[in-house]
Structures are given as structure tokens and as C-alpha cells.
């Protein structure tokens, strides 16, 4: 029990640190959000409106940093992330709420596919160590050295521009209105296929390598030798003894990668102009939309934190050894 309490305290501290960093970054940076908002509005805001803007964005120069900080925490507790500059009139929470399902849907499915296939291939290679299967390793090393966005660019060049199989950007056919019809869902899948494919290709190497190395380690354990000596079938030894133990670290890194679904695929969304949260953050940085920027960063951090908590607890439940204090 002490293990879980310690972890919870740690996550509370991290949450507080993330919120505090989020609060201070725009305030210590040289850029001025209010001036940026005026510039973004293209001179349609009169100088008289500046104090009103400052009050609105919580950047009142008269208020002390401490009172601003307390106000900010109070707003967060009410789930209020302020009003976006670039999506005029929209609350940041609404903008994020629109973007989040796209990211979670596309990258979530791609991550699960990549994890399942990668782990299966990895256990196969680890099992047949020292055969042709090992030649997959240098290939996967190459793919992990290539930057993701370059792979995405190449696949756009080949599959959208060259062969014309998939659209190069966007998340659905713009002539359709979002609804739950088969036609629209089909369009979403069609537009999502290429981004999903690039994610799978670039991330599968990690799963293969991780599982393969764990299989190699686990297969020299005594219980595997004993299982083999008992005359159990190869299948049973592979799945019931070796893979079952080798998959432990894989599961914890899978839980961790769930957090990166939200943040790590930022580049994918930028390259494909996919309307997820990473693309939102990118637009916010370019438009100097500080409230939206803070909101996106907070949501991404929260996602990573949640994934970490999940990983810890899953691991704690699956492997009793981790619960013992060192």
C-alpha cells in the first residue's frame, strides 16, 4: 500500500509543477500576449481596449504575480482555461474538446495496431533467434533513426502524389458535414489510413526490438528450460512461459506510449494538417494564442501523467516485485 501512496504523492507534485510551469512560461518570455492579440486582430482594436484585454487574459500589470497565480489556479479548478485569441470568441476548453477525439481516435488505433503486431513479431524473432528473422533488426534500427516527419513526407510523395491512393492532408472530405453516417465514417478512415500507416511504420521497430530483447533474456531463465524439459509443446512454452513473462515491460511501455498519443504525434498532425491537439498547439504557437497554448500543453501533460499512473498501477498489479520497497 505504501508503494501506491508514494506514487500518488509524486504525481500530485508533478501535476503542481506542470501547472506552475504552464503559468510562468508565458509570463517570463519576452513576447507580450496583449500586443500579440492586438497585432493578430490587425489594428481593429483601439489602444483604449488594452486594459480590458489585460484584465481578460489575467495579465493585469497592477495585480501581483501571486494573486495572478491564485486566480489562475482557481480558474483551473473550475475547468476554465480562458478564451482563445485565434478562434475568436471560443472558450479554450471547447476548442480542445473538438480537437481531442481526432488525435485519440487516429493515434490510439495506430498505437494499438503497432503494439500488437510489433509484440507478435518481436516474440517470433526472439524465439527464432539466430535465424533469418534477425535480419529484421538492422532494418528496424534504420527506421528508428529516421525522423518521423521525413518518413511521413516520403509516404505522401509516394502514396498521395505519386500513386494518388490517399489524400495528402486533412481528416475528412470537406464537402461532407460531420455526422455518424457510413459515408462520413468511411471518409474519416480513408483520410486517416496514411497517417496511421506512417505512425505504425515508425513506431513498430521499438516494439519489435523491446519484445525481442526481453524474449532473449527470458528464454535463458530456468523456468523456461524446465518447461521445455517437461516436454511441453513449443507453442505452450512460447506463449505460456516465455512470452507471458517477457511482455511485462512491453505493457508498461504501452501504457506510457498512451500518453504520447496526445503529445508525441504533434509532428504527424502538422505534416498531415490533421485537426488534432498537436496541430492546435502548433497553430496556437504561430498565432501567439497564449490561452490556447497553455490549454493544449496542460491537456498533453495531464494525458502523460494519467498514462504514467496507469503504467505504475498496472505494473504494480502484474508484477508484485515492484511493490517492494528498495
Amino acid at each position: 500500500m505504501r508503494f501506491f501512496v508514494r506514487r500518488i504523492i509524486f504525481y500530485l507534485i508533478t501535476l503542481w509543477a506542470a501547472i506552475t510551469i504552464n503559468f510562468f512560461i508565458p509570463r517570463v518570455m519576452p513576447g507580450d500576449p496583449v500586443q500579440a492579440a492586438i497585432a493578430a486582430a490587425g489594428g481593429s482594436i483601439s489602444p483604449d481596449a488594452i486594459p480590458a484585454l489585460e484584465a481578460l487574459f489575467g495579465l493585469d500589470p497592477d495585480a501581483s504575480l501571486w494573486s495572478q497565480y491564485v486566480d489562475y489556479l482557481g480558474l483551473l479548478l473550475h475547468g476554465d482555461l480562458g478564451v482563445s485569441f485565434s478562434y475568436t470568441g471560443f472558450a479554450v476548453t471547447d476548442v480542445i474538446k473538438d480537437a481531442l477525439p481526432w488525435t485519440i481516435g487516429l493515434v490510439g488505433i495506430a498505437t494499438i495496431i503497432s503494439f500488437v503486431i510489433g509484440t507478435l513479431i518481436g516474440s517470433g524473432i526472439g524465439w527464432r533467434r539466430g535465424t533469418w528473422a534477425d535480419s529484421l533488426l538492422p532494418i528496424s534500427t534504420f527506421f528508428s533513426a529516421v525522423p518521423y516527419f521525413w518518413l511521413a513526407l516520403l509516404s505522401i510523395a509516394i502514396f498521395s502524389v505519386g500513386l494518388g491512393w490517399f489524400p495528402a492532408s486533412g481528416s475528412y472530405d470537406r464537402n461532407m458535414a460531420p455526422n455518424w453516417s457510413w459515408e462520413f465514417v468511411g471518409s474519416v478512415i480513408y483520410y486517416g489510413a496514411l497517417p496511421a500507416l506512417t505512425i505504425v511504420i515508425s513506431s513498430i521497430a521499438g516494439w519489435i526490438l523491446g519484445m525481442r530483447n526481453m524474449m532473449v533474456t527470458v528464454s535463458s531463465e530456468d523456468y523456461v528450460t524446465v518447461a521445455q524439459a517437461k516436454g511441453l509443446s513449443e507453442r505452450k512454452v512460447l506463449f505460456g512461459y516465455a512470452a507471458r513473462n517477457a511482455i511485462l515491460p512491453q505493457i508498461s511501455s504501452f501504457a506510457l506510449s498512451l500518453g504520447f498519443i496526445v503529445g508525441g504525434t504533434l509532428v504527424m498532425e502538422i505534416v498531415f494538417s490533421y485537426q488534432g491537439i498537436g496541430f492546435m498547439l502548433f497553430n496556437a504557437v504561430n498565432a501567439k494564442d497564449y490561452p490556447l497554448m497553455q490549454g493544449c500543453f496542460l491537456v498533453i501533460t495531464l494525458a502523460v501523467l494519467l498514462a504514467n499512473i496507469l503504467a505504475d498501477f498496472v505494473y504494480g498489479v502484474l508484477d508484485p516485485r515492484t511493490r517492494q520497497e528498495g
Binding site: 512560461i25 539466430g130 535465424t131 535480419s135 534504420f142 533513426a145 529516421v146 525522423p147 513526407l153 523456461v224
Partner: protein, 332 residues
């Protein structure tokens, strides 16, 4: 690919047998005799050389426009030209410096922070350890790339050094965590206890007894951070967050993307830069493999391929350990 891999494996086999021979003089250069590490170091050295002499050997000014618009590779323009006739080969050669400087500066700064915090935390223990590890765990959990993008995006015209420092400030935590764990285990070893019993000063125990035993981990951490920094910086340049007037490989790709090189079929605009990144990334990975094998000899025999195993009449299967294999070797 296969050909390269075979030579690597064959050399590792030699190493494994050589390592059992009690030849001290050869042992010293074991790391340099590791084919993976040497390949990686040669590639890294090549790019470092280009980074130093690049601006002097580039055939054209990377910004100079010419009448050769969007030309495919030729003898005059090795990697072809851009939409305004700039020479892409020169852009990449000149841009190498930006990539390497950011990689090394970020690597050195992040490793220094990591060593300071990790070794201190591991050595002092108690509350200092608790708070320092909490600090590095916080930095581990906070998503790096979004944070880097936000910080770099708000610094006006962020240049290479700024980017390197931002990357270092967010990327030191992993090294610190690994070093702390290793220091913890070293702290209780006999030779450290002996030094303490001899009345050595704390800083001397750390610098003369602990640090030399951490060299491999520090080196691996440094190499990893350089790779991470290079990728981050190129990504930042590619999405146009940092200054687009400083040449690096990411900037080349940024302009290729902006000017629709893909749609125009100008493959020479983005393929060379990508291959350079991949080559540099592979070099760093190879060096790290080399360090790993140098530190952990057990890994050396795991890469044996089918043919060399068959030659030794060994059928690879589960429950067959590399250690058993080594023992057999020794008897034969």
C-alpha cells in the same frame, strides 16, 4: 544492408573469442576494435569534419539565387536546385554546422546537468536524494517536444544556441536517473568503502572512485542526448518554429515543404537531407551499441546469425543461453 551486417557479426565473433585471451595490450583497445563503434565513430567524424570546414568547401553560397530553377541533380549541382535556383548541396554542407553545434552543445550541457544532479543524488542519499530524484522525475514526465515548441516559439528569432540550451534544459533527466541508480549501487562497493576508511575527501571519492566507473553510462547518455537534440532541432526547424534563415538540414526540409517540393516531384530537395539525418542517427545508435557491448560482453554473442550458428552445429531455440554457448566455446 545484409553485407554490412555480416561483417559486423563476424567481427563481434572474433571479439568474443579474443576477449577470453588474456592479452592486456589488446584489451585496452577493445572498444576501438568493435566494428559497430568504429563505423559509428567514422560517420560521426565525417559529419564533424564537414561541420568545421563546410562553409569553406561549399561550391555555392547557399542563399545565392541562380537561373537554374528546380534542376534535378547534375555535375554542376550535386543535389539539384531549389525553386529560386539555390544549390541544395551547399545548403546541406553549410547546414551541417548548425546541426552538429546544437547536438554537441545540448549534449554537453544536458550531460553535465545530469551528472551533477544524478551523482549528487545517488551519493548524498536521504532528503537531498529524495528531492533531486523528484525533480528529475518531474522533468521526465513533462512532455518534452511540446514544451520545447512552446519555449522556442516564444523566444524571438530563436537561434541555434538558444534551441540547444532549451533542449538541454528539458532533456537531462533521463541521464540523471540512470546515473543516480548506478551511483547508489557503487556507493556501497568495497573499493569506495575502502577509500572512505582511508580518510579520502568526499570530492576525491566522487571524482577518482565513482566517476571513472560511470564513464560508459555517461558516454552512452551523451550520445543519446546528442541524437535526441539533433532530431528535436531538425523537427523544430522543419515546422518553422525557429529561425528559418539559419541553415540546417531541418531548414532545407522546411523550404522543401513550403515550396511544395513533393507535389512538384522534386525528390532531390528532401531526400538528401533526410538521408543525412538517418545516417547521423544510425552512427549515434551504432556508437551506443558499441558502448553497450563493451560494457556488457553477454550482448556480444546475441547477434550471431544463422550461418555462423549452423557452422558450429548449434540449433538456436528457447532455453538456450548465450552463457552456455560461451562456456562451450571455451572448452572447445
Amino acid at each position: 544492408m545484409t553485407a554490412v551486417d555480416n561483417t559486423v557479426i563476424n567481427d563481434t565473433v572474433d571479439l568474443a573469442t579474443d576477449a577470453t585471451a588474456p592479452d592486456q595490450g589488446r584489451r585496452k583497445f577493445l572498444f576501438m576494435r568493435n566494428a559497430k563503434a568504429v563505423t559509428g565513430l567514422v560517420i560521426l567524424g565525417f559529419f564533424t569534419l564537414i561541420a568545421i570546414i563546410g562553409p569553406y568547401i561549399a561550391p555555392y553560397d547557399p542563399n545565392a539565387r541562380s537561373k537554374d530553377i528546380l534542376q534535378p541533380p547534375s555535375m554542376a549541382h550535386l543535389f539539384g536546385t531549389t525553386h529560386v535556383g539555390q544549390d541544395i548541396f551547399s545548403q546541406i554542407v553549410v547546414g551541417t554546422r548548425g546541426v552538429m553545434v546544437v547536438g554537441f552543445v545540448a549534449g554537453i550541457v544536458a550531460t553535465t546537468i545530469g551528472v551533477l544532479i544524478g551523482v549528487t543524488a545517488g551519493f548524498i542519499g536521504g532528503w537531498g536524494d529524495e528531492s533531486l530524484s523528484a525533480l528529475s522525475n518531474v522533468f521526465l514526465v513533462i512532455p518534452q517536444l511540446p514544451l520545447i515548441i512552446i519555449i522556442a516559439g516564444q523566444l524571438p528569432s530563436a537561434g541555434g544556441l538558444t534551441v540547444a540550451l532549451v533542449i538541454a534544459a528539458t532533456g537531462w533527466a533521463w541521464g540523471a536517473r540512470v546515473l543516480r541508480a548506478q551511483t547508489l549501487s557503487l556507493r556501497r562497493r568495497d573499493f569506495v568503502e575502502a577509500a572512505r576508511a582511508n580518510g579520502e575527501k568526499t570530492w576525491r571519492i566522487i571524482t577518482a572512485e565513482i566517476l571513472p566507473n560511470l564513464t560508459a553510462i555517461i558516454a552512452a547518455g551523451f550520445v543519446g542526448t546528442v541524437g535526441f537534440a539533433v532530431l528535436s532541432q531538425i523537427t523544430l526547424s522543419f515546422i518553422g518554429i525557429t529561425s528559418v534563415s539559419d541553415w540546417n538540414w531541418g531548414t532545407v526540409l522546411f523550404w522543401a515543404q513550403q515550396q511544395l517540393a513533393l507535389q512538384r516531384g522534386a525528390w532531390w530537395w528532401f531526400v538528401p537531407a533526410g538521408l543525412c539525418i538517418a545516417l547521423l542517427g544510425m552512427a549515434l545508435t551504432l556508437i551506443n551499441f558499441g558502448i553497450d557491448e563493451f560494457v556488457n560482453p553477454r550482448l556480444r554473442s546475441t547477434g550471431l546469425n544463422a550461418r555462423s550458428l549452423r557452422k558450429r552445429k548449434i540449433r538456436p531455440r528457447i532455453g538456450f543461453t548465450p552463457v552456455v554457448y560461451e562456456a562451450k566455446e571455451d572448452r572447445g
